[in-house]
């Protein structure tokens, strides 16, 4: 089920909300948790019930592994060592993820390398497998580090399946969720949280269905449909995807945070105006923050982080980001995207060591453009698509200005500049430029939704804002469209 669907907003959510709090009101707290787990599994199964056994099996296994780890920590001499349990648990999770997500990728590369003809398995990727796998690996590692307390299976199931964060994060820690589910005060309707939840949900809905889905039209045309692009169309294509991805994923996260707040659960902030970043490290502190946290705590630091000299630091950075790229998708373009970010971080560290400094605006300009260009590889389905967009972005031989300017700027034809339908190949027009301006203003000059949420007060202005965002969002719902991060 999509957050941006009529069935979710007008049927699933109200029913789940009222029954959950009704059961709590009747002091049936276990039943209310059970109901929330069932609702979340129903929400998950809405796409395809065939995925349900996979998430259930994964939950049962990880819960058992977590308990074994807790026991092994307490009874150090009995049974398997906690390290072997952890390794077994991680191997199981990565195998599950690897089987569904990377088998065909490996077969393709095997075929390519050895000129063989092994058949692809064409497995359907179970929804959210990357997210719930990472979340549970984090749980196992936290259990190994004795940072988790024991809870029964129902609580654990709620931690994994809680529908606001089930499909595309934020990737949460056991220790930051479980106490919230246990808190008695959180079992009572809280109008403050409901108001804040509705407010940020409405912002998220607007971001997704109005802004992201608008940019999606041009990005899709540019990457997937157009066979040739001129200079403006190529930049419009890459910028459209850059804006689409941000508004799509941050919109999703806002909606997830808002939905969790309705149930008195606080989810961690996942975006902090990433396109305001003035260097790549800053970008990764602001973009998909819970994934960055995961990569730092469970990949980069275990690899040695920056404690083993410069060379190892650079290697660790590269490895972390290449793995991050591969986590997003089974393809060389994703690997290359991760490599680019890893390399950029290494360069930034080296640059910092040399003591160079840039003007803030220039640093922002370079960072934004680097991120924008790197997203081309992230978005392109094939290398050829990425090359098509990038080569046109930097080619001055194919510039087409709107024909309305021909009367005034006709002399430019001498400089190999032509006139015609503006952004025709991506179904754009002069309106497209207005959307870009609007997008830039939003990402650079506006506060992000979390900052608005912190300052939230139940006044008329916020009511009008939330209502407008919600109404526009609902009107645009008809356009449909999945969240991009559902694919990862």
């Amino acid at each position: 089920m999509l957050f941006n669907s009529y069935e979710f907003i007008f049927v699933f959510l109200p029913i789940t909300f009222f029954i959950y709090f009704y059961l709590n009101h009747k002091r049936l707290t276990e039943a209310s948790k059970g109901f929330l787990v069932c609702s979340s599994l129903f929400f998950y199964s809405w796409w395809n019930i065939a995925y349900l056994p996979i998430i259930l099996a994964s939950m049962v296994f990880n819960y058992a592994a977590g308990r074994s780890l807790n026991k092994a920590c307490k009874n150090k001499r009995k049974g398997f060592s906690k390290k072997s349990i952890l390794i077994f648990g991680i191997v199981f999770n990565l195998s599950l993820l690897g089987y569904f997500k990377y088998t065909d990728f490996l077969i393709e590369n095997f075929n390519l390398a050895f000129s063989s003809n092994a058949e692809l398995l064409n497995l359907a990727l179970p929804l959210a497998i990357s997210f719930f796998t990472f979340q549970q690996i984090a749980y196992l590692v936290d259990s190994y580090r004795q940072e988790t307390e024991e809870y029964d299976f129902l609580n654990y199931a709620l931690f994994v399946t809680f529908f606001p964060q089930l499909i595309a994060g934020p990737i949460v820690h056991h220790k930051e969720m479980m106490p919230q589910f246990a808190k008695t005060r959180n079992k009572v309707k809280n109008y403050r949280n409901i108001a804040m939840g509705l407010f940020i949900f409405s912002i998220g809905l607007f971001k997704k269905v109005v802004i992201a889905d608008t940019f999606a039209v041009w990005a899709t045309r540019g990457f997937d449909v157009a066979t040739t692009l001129n200079l403006f169309e190529a930049w419009a294509t890459s910028l459209s995807y850059t804006f689409q991805l941000y508004f799509d994923f941050s919109g999703y996260t806002d909606m997830a945070i808002g939905l969790a707040l309705l149930f008195n659960i606080g989810l961690p902030v996942n975006f902090n105006s990433p396109y305001k970043a003035t260097n790549i490290q800053d970008f990764w502190r602001r973009w998909h923050m819970t994934l960055s946290r995961f990569m730092r705590d469970y990949i980069y630091i275990p690899l040695g982080g920056n404690k083993k000299g410069s060379f190892r630091t650079y290697n660790n950075l590269m490895a972390t980001f290449v793995i991050g790229g591969l986590w997003h998708g089974a393809g060389w373009t994703f690997v290359f995207w991760g490599f680019l970010h890893g390399a950029a971080l290494a360069v930034q560290k080296l640059w910092g060591k040399l003591g160079f400094k840039l003007w803030t605006w220039f640093a922002w300009f370079i960072t934004f453009n680097f991120v924008n260009i790197a997203w081309v590889f992230f978005r392109a389905k094939e290398w050829e698509d990425a090359i098509k967009v990038l080569s046109s972005m930097f080619s001055l031989s194919n510039i087409i200005l709107p024909s309305s300017l021909e009367d005034r700027l006709g002399f430019l034809t001498g400089f190999n500049i032509n006139y015609g339908a503006f952004m025709d190949n991506i179904d754009g027009s002069l309106h497209t430029s207005i959307w870009f301006f609007f997008g830039f203003v939003l990402i650079v000059f506006f506060q992000n939704s979390n900052e608005y949420l912190k300052e939230f007060s139940p006044n008329k202005k916020n009511l009008m804002l939330a209502a407008s965002f919600f109404i526009f969002g609902v009107l645009y719902l008809a356009k449909g469209g999945e969240f991009l991060y559902f694919n990862f």
Partner: protein, 308 residues
């Protein structure tokens, strides 16, 4: 305002949204009326017309009521012109439903133009408000967002804006709205012709075709006779069309309209060029001026055999 009040007000707003949506879906959907057509509604109310000229600007500006009255020796009020800019069969259909008896006794001469079948002709005025009124929410959004949002906003504005009836405007002409002037040479250049929004990324046979087809089918049962025509072009404009792609689009449009008329047993005449009309009889490539209107009105009466 406390949190509880805030939440309650939010939900009251939501409730109102649902009510407004229901109203627009169930009420406006069937009652929509082009605002400029309201200006001519009194012509229907106050007369008992035998012939009604209807359709878009090409009928409004080139079918002269006084010429038709002279040729047919009818009395004033027997012929009226309720064609409007951006008028189409759907807009006419709404009015027919309002005055069924008057239309049942009248012969309708209806003009249609290529934008009415071109699904990619979406800018304001070229995707008519009455067509938009027939679309579902989903179709509206898919069709107009993001590039043509102003068309959609224009439609909503046309519903809510205050309307002043100006009866006096057409008192003498019975709805005929002639334009003086002659064709400017520049407008018949190939580039200007190619830019005509009627033919923008021309695609027919889709959504608009379905809407127009449905309304022609409905109209055919509600009026005495329905004659459909596609209007001619100025010779120099037509020559420019031949140089580019627009002539093929116009031909495709005419062929689709003919098929629709055949399907519903309607008489249809496609004019591309009328020998009696030269550039001096047009004020732009597709609209005759006052003099051209007199010639063209006589031709229409003759070709459709309106003389009893």
């Amino acid at each position: 305002m406390n949190n509880k009040q805030w939440v309650n007000l939010f939900f009251i707003g939501l409730f109102l949204l649902v009510i407004i949506s229901l109203i627009s879906s169930f009420f406006l959907h069937d009652k929509f009326q082009e605002s400029s057509l309201r200006n001519k509604e009194y012509l229907i109310k106050e007369n008992k017309p035998k012939i009604i000229f209807a359709g878009d600007s090409r009928a409004e500006r080139q079918l002269s009521v006084s010429t038709a009255l002279d040729v047919l020796s009818y009395s004033k009020g027997d012929i009226i012109n309720i064609a409007i800019s951006s008028g189409d069969p759907i807009a006419l259909n709404y009015l027919v439903d309002k005055y069924p008896v008057k239309f049942k006794n009248a012969v309708i001469v209806l003009s249609v133009s290529a934008n009415q079948l071109n699904d990619n002709s979406k800018s304001r005025g070229y995707f008519t408000n009455s067509m938009i009124s027939k679309l579902s929410y989903k179709e509206k959004i898919i069709t107009f967002i993001p590039n043509n949002i102003s068309t959609l906003l224009g439609y909503y504005y046309s519903i809510v804006r205050p309307h002043l009836t100006t009866k006096s405007q057409f008192r003498e002409s019975y709805g005929f709205n002639p334009i003086d002037g002659t064709l400017h040479k520049k407008s018949a250049h190939k580039r200007s012709v190619e830019k005509n929004p009627w033919y923008e990324d021309y695609v027919d046979g889709g959504l608009k075709h379905k809407l127009i087809g449905n309304s022609l089918s409905e109209l055919s049962n509600k009026v005495k006779e329905l004659y459909v025509y596609t209007a001619p072009f100025a010779p120099s404009y037509l020559a420019a069309m031949k140089e580019g792609r627009t002539l093929s689009f116009e031909r495709s449009f005419k062929s689709k309209i003919t098929s629709l008329c055949n399907k519903y047993n309607l008489t249809c005449i496609n004019y591309l060029k009328v020998d009696e009309l030269d550039d001096l009889h047009f004020y732009d490539g597709a609209h005759t001026n006052k003099d051209g209107a007199i010639i063209f009105t006589k031709k229409i009466i003759k070709d459709f055999r309106l003389i009893e």
